[in-house]
């Protein structure tokens, strides 16, 4: 593991990504301490431009709420949605992909047809349907994002399993008398995981974007301070007070960029073939 860390830290983009990600995490952690008041409470005059009033250094939105407070508290929401939705998507994807890849035959065919059925639907449309049916609280939105994001990790895991399941060390495990579940999760999965971990960063970036897109359409939970909600609000005043949408937009950009750079860095560090470039 220290070797992977050393390889990771050798790449400048990966280090920048990690620094940005730590910055977003720091924002989320310090939100309650820097902005102890409810970020959705009215704070002052509406539509104050950034850097005009020292109390609201990122300005206020169209109902007079502090944008800086919403950005800091929004970091919590975005990271939370990103992490939980990714965990859900990867968990479903890994289990389905692992079983399909290991068992092969009819099991594989059925599971992959189901996966393809999910993939043929544009996942944002599916997300809209789920949110419309089950309501738009933060919990349902997060679960819904996770549920629409699993097919790609499932296919990736299956591909890894297909190449690993006939390796001699797996056969050796079978000859020793290991059960299928132990072979799948104890022997093959640890070897199949690195590309899936790397792909998780993509899923996380997409999850954050999906939530923002939902919020932009005002279909996300309006009772939490999320970046997407703020962009959605800013839509009404986009031509004049563009900063209301731009500030959270930059926050999303930075977070997604950070997550992607970290993912790319992990990929390079975990992939031994790229080591000697």
């Amino acid at each position: 593991m220290p070797e992977v860390l050393r390889d990771y830290l050798r790449s400048p983009p990966a280090v920048i990504g990690l620094a940005l990600l730590l910055l977003v995490i720091a924002m989320a952690a310090s939100a309650g301490w820097l902005f102890p008041r409810d970020p959705l409470a009215l704070a002052g005059r509406p539509l104050v431009w950034p850097f005009q009033n020292p109390r609201f250094w990122l300005g206020t939105d169209n109902s007079g709420r502090d944008i800086a407070a919403q950005i800091f508290h929004g970091a919590r929401i975005s990271l939370l949605i990103g992490l939980v939705a990714t965990a859900i998507a990867i968990a479903i994807g890994v289990v389905i992909g692992a079983v399909a890849g290991y068992c092969g035959g009819a099991v594989d065919t059925i599971l992959m047809r189901v996966t393809e059925a999910f993939q043929t639907l544009p996942n944002f449309l599916l997300l809209l349907v789920l949110v419309v049916v089950f309501g738009s609280t933060i919990t349902t939105v997060t679960i819904a994002i996770g549920v629409v994001s699993w097919p790609a990790p499932a296919r990736l895991t299956r591909a890894e399993f297909l190449s690993l399941r006939n390796r001699e060390f797996v056969q050796a495990g079978r000859v020793l008398g290991l059960r299928d579940a132990r072979l799948i999760f104890g022997e093959i999965l640890p070897n199949a995981l690195p590309p899936v971990i790397v792909y998780a960063s993509v899923v996380m970036a997409v999850a954050i974007l999906l939530e923002s897109a939902l919020a932009f359409l005002r279909l996300s939970d309006p009772n939490v301070a999320s970046w997407g909600n703020l962009i959605g609000l800013g839509r009404d005043v986009l031509r004049v007070q563009w900063y209301v949408s731009a500030v959270p937009g930059i926050a999303i950009l930075v977070t997604v960029l950070a997550v992607s750079l970290v993912g790319q860095g992990l990929n390079d560090a975990l992939n031994p073939r790229l080591k000697r470039r």
Partner: protein
């Protein structure tokens, strides 16, 4: 005879962080026209690097840092890239170990051979075609016209290698470098390719630099021999001098490690059999929808064998003969279609998978590839302890036992905490043996357990296997393509061809007086047959 290609104290530097500073140090060799120089050595000896250095095709970060390569009075070390392009192919040609990866899979054979002329000559299309067909005829590909229109995957391994040779010889090169050209081939095909290279070399007077790890091949083909170790030439001279009167210790060691083809005196065999295989068949069906156009492969066809208690049964054959499928049927990695595998009253072939898991402690397997058969993410000790733990041994006791087994197979018990990649190939194979023995099986199925190892390591592992066999009273089914190895370790041998056992019996009988024509062909194809027969038996 004056040399065509001369290497003068050639040095090749490795990038920093490699296991040694130089891949080649002070290598001096010379090949004359109409001569075959064999460069022989174990993996990592720098023999392939020598070929790369001559052609100036070295991996990134590796560079020549001294000496000269003289070819027709030119120093190739100082030649520019344009000059090297003219020399490669036309002056010095090369053939590789694996013809499948050296040929472009998307273009026909004829097209690829014709390209050699298109690049280096001004011949017309029709002339190129004639020359190309002539070459294919010369390398004795059956039906050259058909072969020239075939894609690489449509030819057999031997035919692909013939096509590669045709390509290499297209422009009448002065020097042919052959880098392990027969290692990936079956023994009968290998014999044909060696004869072909020898024959072409005689007729055209080519100088051949032949790189190999196999002393049998050396004995078969070499005029002169150079032995390499750790990037240095430790001994060179005429073939019979080096092979019969080796001067350097390393050469002596290497030659002593080559198993002689003669079997050691037979051991007494028990009358009771521990494993009886009866009428086992396995058929694979591929492709085809609703039975149309399906291809049926009879991997194992009605095989019946008996393994006496404490005995070792060798199953020999070429690739595709079904010997590995048979091994996998026995341990139920593959479910046989028909037949029975009786292990002391239990028919393994008829068990459910759960029942087979319980039986697995009695029958264990050792695999071929020491790099693929150990889970890279588990510590060596855990790999060995895993089996007993699954079968109910308390983990602490299983780990303690694993350390004992480490000592038994000749590994440092303290190294049980290391990961597989920290061991060498031979050490990994010892771990594989320890893992199989941890369950204290009665039967060991060994699938080509020494094929991936260097010859000196191979001898050590075979010796270990012989010792363990005595100590544990093991009965072994030993799958191998190498008849020399089979002669050393097996009591009985069964020869397989196309899924069937064509001949069986005591090793000394089968190898000494083969009955079936295929067995005779196999034995006749072993390179350097007579080599080493007179020597005392090295392994027991």
């Amino acid at each position: 005879m004056s040399a065509i290609l001369t290497l003068e104290s050639l040095g090749v530097r490795l990038p920093p962080g490699a296991d040694r500073s130089h891949a080649l140090q002070d290598v001096s060799l010379a090949v004359a026209a109409n001569e075959i120089l064999c460069v022989v050595g174990e993996s990592g000896s720098g023999k392939s690097m020598t070929a790369g250095a001559i052609m100036r095709l070295l991996p990134r970060g590796v560079a020549i840092d001294g000496g000269r390569v003289l070819f027709e009075d030119r120093d190739l070390v100082r030649a520019d890239e344009a000059e090297m392009r003219r020399i490669r192919g036309a002056g010095i040609a090369m053939i590789f170990q694996e013809p499948m990866t050296a040929l472009n899979p998307l273009r026909t054979i004829g097209d690829q051979i014709g390209e050699m002329f298109a690049i280096h000559t001004d011949l017309s299309k029709a002339a190129i075609r004639d020359r190309m067909l002539g070459l294919l005829e010369e390398v004795r590909i059956p039906d050259p016209r058909l072969a020239s229109r075939a894609y690489p995957h449509e030819l057999s391994g031997g035919q692909r290698q013939r096509a590669m040779i045709a390509m290499a010889l297209a422009l009448d090169p002065k020097v042919l470098i052959a880098d392990e050209p027969t290692t990936a081939l079956d023994v009968t095909t290998q014999a044909q390719i060696l004869a072909l290279i020898r024959d072409l070399q005689r007729r055209q007077g080519t100088a051949v630099l032949f790189i190999t790890h196999d002393f049998g091949v050396v004995a078969e083909i070499a005029d002169r021999v150079a032995v390499m170790q750790h990037g240095r030439v430790v001994e060179q001279g005429p073939a019979d001098a080096v092979l019969d009167r080796p001067q350097h210790d390393y050469t002596r060691q290497l030659i002593a490690a080559v198993p002689p083809l003669a079997a050691p005196p037979p051991r007494a065999l028990s009358d009771t059999s521990v494993l009886t295989i009866e009428h086992v068949s396995k058929t694979y069906r591929t492709g085809g929808f609703l039975g149309r156009g399906a291809r049926v492969t009879h991997a194992v066809k009605d095989v019946s064998l008996r393994l006496p208690k404490g005995g070792t049964l060798g199953v020999v054959g070429e690739s595709g003969s079904g010997k590995s499928t048979l091994a996998r049927c026995i341990v139920r990695l593959v479910d046989p279609d028909a037949g029975s595998v009786m292990l002391e009253g239990t028919d393994l072939a008829g068990l459910t998978r759960a029942e087979m898991r319980r039986q697995s402690r009695h029958i264990q397997m050792v695999f071929q590839d020491p790099f693929a058969s150990l889970n890279p993410r588990r510590r060596a000790g855990d790999l060995v302890a895993q089996g007993p733990i699954v079968h109910g041994t308390p983990p602490a006791r299983a780990r303690a036992r694993a350390r004992e087994l480490f000592a038994l197979v000749g590994l440092d018990p303290a190294s049980a905490d290391r990961f597989p990649h920290e061991f060498s190939g031979g050490q990994r194979q010892r771990i594989g043996l320890a893992r199989a023995l941890a369950l204290e099986p009665r039967i060991l199925v060994a699938d080509e357990p020494v094929s991936a190892l260097d010859v000196s390591v191979q001898a050590q592992v075979l010796k270990l296997l012989g010792e363990l066999r005595q100590r544990f009273g093991l009965s072994i089914i030993f799958i191998t393509h190498d008849l020399r190895v089979a002669a050393q370790i097996c009591d009985l041998v069964a020869v397989m061809k196309d899924g069937e056992v064509v001949e069986r019996g005591l090793v000394a009988d089968v190898f000494g007086a083969p009955q079936h024509p295929y067995t005779r062909a196999l034995l006749a194809s072993i390179p350097g047959r007579g080599f080493g027969v007179a020597r005392p038996v090295a392994t027991t």
